[in-house]
């Protein structure tokens, strides 16, 4: 009996034919595809004036506005609104009205009153009012997740009338900065009360923002539609729909942008900026950001417990090389841990070290280390800037006799090691930091305050004088009358951090994004006070 009859052969032939025809159809249809986009590829239809196509790397950790404190901020900031917005540096006023139209602080700084915008509704139709503000803040405090700690000074939220709330504080703080924070400050509908976190994480939202979440495919795509009932004004050249593609690789985002498949790429490889700038269809935007890079010294371990050693190493850091190579020139050397331009380092009057290897070597010898020593440095594998500049630190420290063993770790592993048993911790910890609110106090408070268990003070540095100074400065900044005195205290605190050198302050990085010239980013679309966020209402079609 013939096992291989003619039938299998006919089937195989048919399969081959179908595959070949499908491939051919695909290639032919690609060749016939529209080429009216402004880019070089012929494989995409023309850009739409109604749909804005974005590529982000940002995935969603949670949709719960009380708990959200991660990369999903890029979406949350367009779905929800705070009471006020912090304006970009250089603006006439530090804050703009959002869901509050005006606000004032009592003379003693212990209460803040917000007058709310009327005629606003949440996406579910529930009216926005003082009760909603109280509900949002109370719930965020109660859950104590995400950025809830920002509201710690608020003792109670009082509903004075339907459109007025007064927040009573345990101690004076600049509550306007907290109310304008990039996370944890959003107002959401009381009608969501009783819904579990699973309900939120299934892809629900209920803010007052100009955009509504239409669909959510985790790790893949998010679609937002315009909220036609938003209290703001819509114009004809604003988009009606936002489609976000999650694209993890910068190279892929760049290619999709060049092909006209997307309008905006949120992740740009810095070494590709020149190539993108030379593309006549693409605009590259380099904007100020509050991203700063620093390298903690483990002050609990010899020889880094010696101040002279830390100061010497601060002179050994190749600051300009790091900026040139690590940040491709798109950064400036830091002046302390607060980026220049952010309160209280608005004027950049904080001292800084310069690269001086001869001085560094001299200081090390004077400190009792003429022959140097060995240090372990850890940095985040996912961060290409750290990947680029870590070897430069190794090389520069070698010139002063310090051997650096560089260890590249995934962020979670790097952080776990730093928080783990003291004997296993690193000597040098490279970190990218951005503040949670438009206040450099967050930088100093989070990274240099005493901690019972290490979290962000990864220099393990404790100084009671600094502590007192910082607390005084913060409390003085609570009311306008105290700002000048607060600035002086902050100047002293920042100078102390530079002098005591618990960390080397490397650079303040610019944010870089790229977009097709068919879209325009309006003023305020990118605001350093809202890291990674693009405000979609301020993006218009040309």
């Amino acid at each position: 009996m013939e096992r291989w009859s003619s039938r299998p052969k006919r089937v195989a032939t048919a399969i081959v034919s179908v595959v070949a025809v499908a491939l051919l159809a695909g290639v032919l249809s690609a060749g016939c595809g529209s080429s009216s986009s402004s880019s070089s590829s012929s494989s995409s239809p023309a850009a739409s004036a109604d749909i804005l196509r974005l590529a982000y790397t940002s995935t969603v950790t949670t949709w719960d506005p009380s708990a959200s404190f991660s990369t999903e901020v890029v979406y949350m900031a367009n779905l929800y609104e705070p009471l006020i917005y912090a304006n970009a540096p250089g603006s006439a006023e530090p804050f703009s009205p959002a869901l509050a139209t005006s606000w004032e602080v009592a003379k003693n700084g212990l209460s803040w009153t917000f007058h709310l915008r009327q005629g606003v509704t949440f996406h579910d139709g529930t009216p926005f009012d003082a009760a909603a503000v109280k509900y949002s803040i109370d719930r965020t405090q109660k859950l104590n997740l995400g950025a809830a700690y920002l509201w710690a000074p608020v003792k109670s939220v009082q509903v004075v009338d339907p459109y007025t709330v007064t927040m009573h504080l345990s101690y004076p703080v600049a509550l306007d900065r907290i109310a304008a924070a990039s996370s944890g400050s959003w107002m959401f509908s009381p009608a969501t009360s009783g819904n579990s976190s699973k309900w939120w994480d299934a892809g629900h939202e209920d803010g007052t923002g100009p955009w509504i979440l239409q669909s959510y495919k985790p790790n893949q795509e998010l679609v937002f539609v315009r909220n036609d009932k938003w209290w703001g004004t819509w114009s004809n050249n604003q988009y009606k729909k936002i489609v976000v593609e999650i694209v993890a690789e910068a190279g892929t985002q760049q290619q999709e942008l060049e092909a006209g498949q997307i309008d905006y790429a949120g992740l740009v490889a810095r070494d590709q900026v020149s190539a993108l700038q030379s593309n006549p269809s693409i605009d590259v935007v380099k904007a100020q950001s509050w991203n700063s890079y620093l390298m903690f010294f483990n002050t609990q371990r010899k020889p880094l417990d010696n101040l002279k050693v830390r100061q010497a190493l601060s002179y050994a850091v190749p600051y300009q090389d790091i900026i040139t190579v690590g940040a491709n020139g798109l950064a400036t050397q830091s002046k302390g841990p607060v980026p220049v331009g952010l309160w209280p380092n608005t004027q950049g009057n904080v001292p800084q070290y310069s690269t001086d290897t001869a001085k560094a070597k001299q200081m090390l010898a004077a400190a009792g280390y003429p022959n140097g020593f060995t240090l372990n440095l850890t940095y985040t594998a996912e961060n290409p800037l750290e990947d680029a500049f870590a070897p430069l630190i190794k090389e520069s420290f070698a010139k002063v006799g310090v051997t650096v063993n560089v260890q590249k770790l995934l962020w979670n592993q790097q952080w776990a090691k730093a928080k783990g048993p003291a004997a296993h911790r690193q000597d040098l910890f490279c970190l990218l930091w951005w503040p949670s609110l438009p206040d450099g106090y967050d930088n100093m408070n989070s990274m240099f305050r005493p901690e019972t268990t290490p979290a962000w003070n990864l220099a393990y540095w404790y100084d009671s004088d600094f502590d007192k100074l910082l607390t005084q400065a913060y409390k003085l900044s609570a009311v306008p009358a105290g700002l000048e005195a607060s600035q002086q205290k902050y100047n002293q605190a920042q100078a102390m951090l530079v002098d005591q050198a618990p960390a080397a302050y490397l650079f303040d990085a610019q944010t870089v994004i790229a977009h097709l010239k068919t879209i325009t980013l309006g003023s305020g679309a990118i605001n350093p006070n809202y890291p990674q966020v693009l405000f979609w209402t301020l993006v218009t079609a040309k």
């Binding site: 739409s48 969603v60 950790t61 498949q261 979670n412 090691k417």
Partner: protein
């Protein structure tokens, strides 16, 4: 041994294998330095929140207790919850798997057809130029790293020739104008069965490059295995006899030689299918293909251990099932093979 008792025996052994895989993976992931509670809470987490999450997730319990709970739940079908997506891991896997299957199955169909045809052709023309050229292709397909090949395909077909899209399963505007109704979760199949021709064409175009990238390795392996099996088969006396009796070359090759040479080829096809499940990782990352590979890569980079374990168990299960299917297919095709 009957076929059913063979299947039962193999599945029983498979369960033991999977338990072993789950145990080893659990230990490797949990003992590596990372903080799952911090992953759960997200970046910028405060110590109190991490401590709260640690308690919520049961991470404050001894490791052997956590292992026991995990294995008990695994047996009940609860694969845990992803620390990143906050969804059940099994739900995530079922969501992303169809996209990967579409890629893998299409790649394997192409690899198998081309691999067998070229393998037979090179065996028939041993030592000729086609044999030498195909050797280069097959060696290249097997040895070129998938991520490099992916980038090269993007450069050639997208950047230089402007023929095919660079990444993603579909064009955003086409997808919005012609949304695909999900039936299987595979865009090409769903568009085809629902008659959505614009979306079908678009999905096929987006599938071509990642499919070619993924097909390179299995095609090389299948081609070489087919060639060597065919050479062995064609050296047999019955082939010489058939040739001497005037049997046409095509019949000789495809009916008489190939059917006997097909056994090892079938085994290799099965193994490359299972290999492709992990081979998609880099391919999906570079082509922004929202499949299991991208989910797994993101989980590994963020040390999302329940998701890492879930994907590992899924891949191990696929290996086991594919191997079983291959063995059964071989027994069905060749009565000389006894199941034991």
């Amino acid at each position: 041994m009957t076929i059913w008792s063979y299947i039962v025996r193999r599945i029983s052994l498979a369960v033991l294998v999977l338990l072993g895989v789950a145990t080893i993976t659990f230990l490797m992931v949990r003992l590596s330095p990372s903080d799952p509670a911090a992953v759960y809470v997200g970046a910028n987490a405060r110590p109190a929140q991490i401590a709260q999450a640690r308690q919520l997730l049961g991470l404050d319990r001894p490791l052997y207790v956590q292992y026991g709970i995990y294995m008990k739940n695994l047996v009940k079908g609860d694969w845990g919850e992803s620390l990143r997506t906050k969804r059940p891991v099994l739900q995530d896997i079922m969501h992303f798997l169809p996209m990967s299957l579409e890629l893998i199955i299409s790649a394997l169909i192409v690899a198998t057809i081309l691999g067998i045809i070229l393998g037979v052709a090179t065996a028939h023309r041993k030592g000729k130029w086609i044999d030498h050229v195909m050797r280069i292709f097959s060696t290249g397909g097997v040895s070129i790293p998938a991520f490099w090949l992916a980038l090269m395909l993007q450069i050639v077909f997208f950047r230089m020739l402007h023929l095919l899209p660079v990444a993603g399963p579909s064009d955003i505007l086409v997808a919005q104008a012609h949304p695909i109704t999900s039936v299987t979760g595979m865009p090409v199949i769903d568009a085809l069965v629902t008659g959505n021709w614009p979306a079908f064409t678009d999905s096929v175009r987006h599938l071509i490059l990642p499919m070619l990238c993924l097909a390179a390795y299995p095609m090389g392996v299948i081609m070489r295995m087919t060639r060597s099996s065919m050479l062995e088969a064609m050296g047999n006396d019955y082939i010489r006899m058939a040739r001497a009796m005037g049997v046409p070359p095509r019949t000789l090759l495809y009916k008489d030689a190939l059917k006997n040479a097909f056994g090892p080829v079938l085994t290799v096809i099965g193994l490359t299918f299972a290999y492709s499940l992990t081979g998609t990782f880099f391919v999906e990352l570079i082509f922004a293909w929202p499949g299991l590979g991208q989910y797994a890569t993101t989980s590994i980079l963020s040390t999302d251990y329940p998701a890492i374990m879930g994907v590992t168990i899924m891949v191990a299960t696929a290996y086991v099932l594919v191997n079983l299917a291959v063995d059964l297919a071989q027994a069905l095709l060749d009565p000389r093979i006894a199941l034991s």
